[in-house]
């Protein structure tokens, strides 16, 4: 009899662990506490958002909370969000944001600090705050003082997924041309130059973004900029001071202009991530330095003409500047969800947020819904996850290795969009015109402009 009970229990345990639902502790947590409430969610179109959308019905079933879900394409998402938030009407309860944008929203008082919920009885013990990868969760903390690093202060948002910016290369092309996989910046430049017109007119070595906005600065450029040892701002005498004309910054930018001019796309200045990925996938670009996801999705069978030929490198470091593999820095991007400070249904909104950032949901989304950039340690270390990304050569190694040195290398400040837009425009002018006598001149001028932009910020 005892044996039978034990077997039954064991069987039950196996069954429950297989279905990954309702572990014992949750019986104490009241998921139905806000039954009947209705919240509004605005997301940007993304794989992470798709995963949430797919499970909305399950959420409603479990909690009784109804969700008005809508999503906007990324190109116009922030404009729409800015208008909604600025009305202070609480028209949206939960929305998607990046870490950089959260600096602007938090400063404007649009974000609800989440520590008000995290350690309260409104949070299921299964949720596990400590399970988030430290670099990622810390990127969403800030004390609102411009110039202070992220990682201190309030928790403004929770990560949905994150991206490191690494090299994706077409191993078939590199092998055919007898070129080594670039580990250093110097090698990257050499390869990129050697690969010009490797596959007919218009084909080129390295795809990177070039449009005049922050999207051009934050992936590859900022990663190499930091690896080179350069900083965007520093605090001097209680003021934020731009450092884009420091010797490291100028040396790096000189390198970058050379790289883009002689190894990049002929129409670089009009390139966003779409065209970078498209050229890589079509075999017109041999390498791409952008978010890991971009390369990863081109490699999925049927996604592109060159699918299956891609492998992942890391962050090429500048040997000439005395850097080694240990100096590799990858600037990271975190898609995250945040709560509107003007929301009238914060408790129900928190239920939504914790459900869709829970280890259980993220294991599912990380392995079955293509959200490979999981922000949870438990998922990253699980066998299911390792198996699901195994087909992408070097991906797991690069992702886990680069993650060690990944962080946000921008200085947290509320004029992020403006300063990076100006920065990208300067790069565009350097590449497409002869307006400046030297990179030094251009960066000196940029420094002045950036200083002016942040001049009204109180640092202390």
């Amino acid at each position: 009899m005892k044996k039978a009970v034990a077997m039954l229990l064991a069987g039950l345990m196996v069954a429950s662990s297989l279905t990954v639902t309702v572990p014992a502790a949750e019986e104490e947590f009241d998921w139905k506490k806000f039954d009947g409430e209705e919240i509004t969610v605005l997301f940007s179109e993304h794989t992470y958002a798709d995963a949430v959308e797919a499970k909305l019905d399950e959420f409603t079933e479990k909690t009784g909370i109804k969700v008005n879900y809508s999503s906007m394409p990324e190109g116009n998402y922030f404009e729409k969000l800015n208008v909604e938030l600025s009305s202070h009407s609480g028209s949206i309860d939960v929305f998607m944001t990046g870490a950089y944008q959260s600096w602007e929203y938090a400063t404007a008082g649009n974000l609800e600090p989440l520590e008000n919920f995290i350690d309260t009885d409104l949070t299921s013990p299964e949720w596990k705050y400590d399970d988030f990868i430290p670099a990622v969760i810390n990127a969403l903390k800030w004390d609102l003082v411009p110039g202070h690093p992220v990682g201190e202060g309030s928790q403004w948002a929770l990560p949905m997924g994150w991206e490191v910016n690494i090299l994706t290369y077409n191993k078939r092309v590199l092998e055919e041309k007898g070129l080594p996989v670039p580990e250093t910046a110097e090698q990257l430049l050499e390869d990129a130059k050697a690969l010009q017109e490797f596959n007919g007119t218009g084909s080129y070595g390295l795809a990177v973004r070039g449009l005049p906005d922050w999207g051009t600065i934050h992936p590859a450029y900022m990663s190499l900029y930091s690896t080179w040892g350069a900083k965007d701002f520093e605090i001097e005498d209680g003021k934020l001071v731009s450092k884009v004309n420091s010797p490291e910054a100028v040396a790096m930018t000189e390198y970058w202009v050379d790289l883009v001019k002689n190894g990049g796309a002929p129409q670089w200045a009009t390139y966003g991530w779409e065209m970078c990925g498209a050229d890589l996938g079509a075999g017109k670009a041999a390498m791409m330095w952008d978010a890991d996801r971009g390369g990863y999705t081109q490699n999925v069978e049927g996604a592109s003409a060159e699918a299956g030929n891609f492998a992942f490198g890391m962050v090429p470091y500048p040997e000439s500047a005395g850097k080694t593999a240990d100096d590799m820095r990858s600037n990271l991007w975190v898609w995250s969800m945040a709560m509107n400070a003007d929301s009238a249904k914060k408790d129900a909104a928190w239920y939504f947020m914790q459900y869709f950032t829970s280890p259980e949901f993220m294991l599912w989304s990380g392995t079955e819904a293509a959200c490979t950039d999981t922000p949870r340690t438990s998922v990253l270390e699980s066998e299911e996850y390792k198996n699901s990304v195994a087909s992408a050569e070097g991906y797991y190694e690069a992702f886990s290795k680069v993650s060690e040195n990944a962080s946000i290398f921008f200085t947290a400040q509320p004029y992020f969009t403006e300063t990076t837009t100006e920065w990208a425009k300067t790069l565009q002018k350097l590449v497409t015109t002869d307006e400046y006598a030297s990179v030094q001149d251009a960066m000196d001028e940029l420094k002045e402009v950036m200083d002016e932009m942040v001049s009204d910020l109180e640092v202390e």
Binding site: F78, E79, N82, V83, L85, S86, E104, T107, A108, G109, T201, G202, S203, Y204, G210, L211, P212, D213, A265, P266, Q267, W268, A269, T270, M275, A278, D279, A282, K284, A285, P414, Y415, T417, E418, T421, A424, K425, Q428, K429, V431, T432, T433, E435
Partner: protein, 309 residues
């Protein structure tokens, strides 16, 4: 229904009150529907005198600071130049091309022209942002079809929107592709409604085709042409979608028009107060241009009416 006043030939002060207010009553619904827009317009003017920003919880009056900042910035003068160049050049090309094509469609009364009368309007029907993306794919130097065509003629890697030298040309070309159809449609409708009798008498007089065009067609068509010019120029000066979808204003500041600058400042940098003056200048420019064109249109209308009678 006594309609003695019709045609406005009688003196206003002699007609009864009911008849006198009738036109106002007929126009009133249109005005009421659109007048609501005056409220946001006035609000926007007020914002231009404040530091209204999405980032600040409240806003306060700052006088003419935003205006002074704008007038002393190089951004503004560049933006004004870009808007005027884009608006004037694209409208001029579209007017000439549209008039030419409409005349061809009207004169060639064959199967081809009857089919093209419908087909040639289609470019308008693709949303400008999408149309621009299609063009971007065609013009791309690594995968585009136009590049392949150019290669035949020995031209390689034409930079299109990626170079400051050719960016304006590229966006104007796309604008012309989209909007010439607008001119064609309006001018064709104008041509189709020209009365037959003056031409018949001209035929009897033995006037040649060019003489007929300059002395009969053109004067009678002028009112329609001015209407087409008016609406096209107003839209072209405000154009935003094509530039934004193609280069976001780059390279550098090459294509940062007034609309784009205002949009960037207002919705991206969230400084609404600072963005509004850029649009109000645009409003002023268009107002002046429209007044002028409307005056020409009214005169042309009177002349055309005289010709027909």
């Amino acid at each position: 229904m006594s309609e003695q006043n019709k045609g406005g030939k009688s003196q206003l002060n002699k007609v009864p009150f009911g008849t006198r207010v009738r036109p106002y009553l007929i126009v009133a619904p249109s005005l009421i529907i659109t007048i609501g827009i005056m409220v946001p317009f006035v609000m926007a003017i007020w914002y231009s005198l404040t530091n209204y920003s999405f980032k600040l919880p409240t806003h306060k009056f700052v006088g003419l600071k935003n205006w002074v900042d704008m007038l002393t910035s190089t951004d503004f003068w560049n933006a004004l130049k870009v808007s005027l160049m884009y608006g004037v050049i694209s409208t001029a090309i579209e007017m000439l091309l549209g008039l030419g094509v409409a005349i061809l469609l009207n004169n060639l009364n064959n199967k081809l022209s009857r089919v093209l009368r419908v087909l040639l309007v289609f470019p308008l029907m693709v949303a400008p942002v999408t149309a621009t993306i299609v063009w971007q794919l065609m013009l791309n130097s690594s995968v585009g079809i136009v590049e392949k065509l150019f290669n035949i003629f020995g031209v390689y890697n034409f930079p299109w929107a990626a170079s400051p030298k050719t960016a304006l040309l590229t966006v104007i070309m796309i604008d012309v592709w989209i909007n010439t159809a607008f001119i064609i449609l309006l001018v064709l409708a104008g041509l189709q409604s020209l009365p037959k009798s003056p031409f018949e008498s001209a035929k009897i007089d033995g006037g040649n085709a060019w003489f007929n065009f300059v002395n009969l067609t053109l004067p009678m068509l002028k009112p329609s042409l001015y209407i087409a010019l008016l609406f096209r120029l107003m839209a072209a000066l405000q154009e935003y979608a094509v530039i934004f979808a193609l280069t976001k204003g780059g390279p550098g500041d090459t294509l940062m028009s007034l609309s784009l600058t205002a949009y960037q400042k207002g919705f991206k940098f969230q400084k609404f107060g600072a963005a509004i003056p850029f649009i109000l200048v645009l409003w002023l420019v268009i107002n002046v241009a429209a007044k002028r064109i409307v005056k020409l249109q009214r005169n042309a209308q009177k002349q055309a009416a005289g010709l027909e009678d």
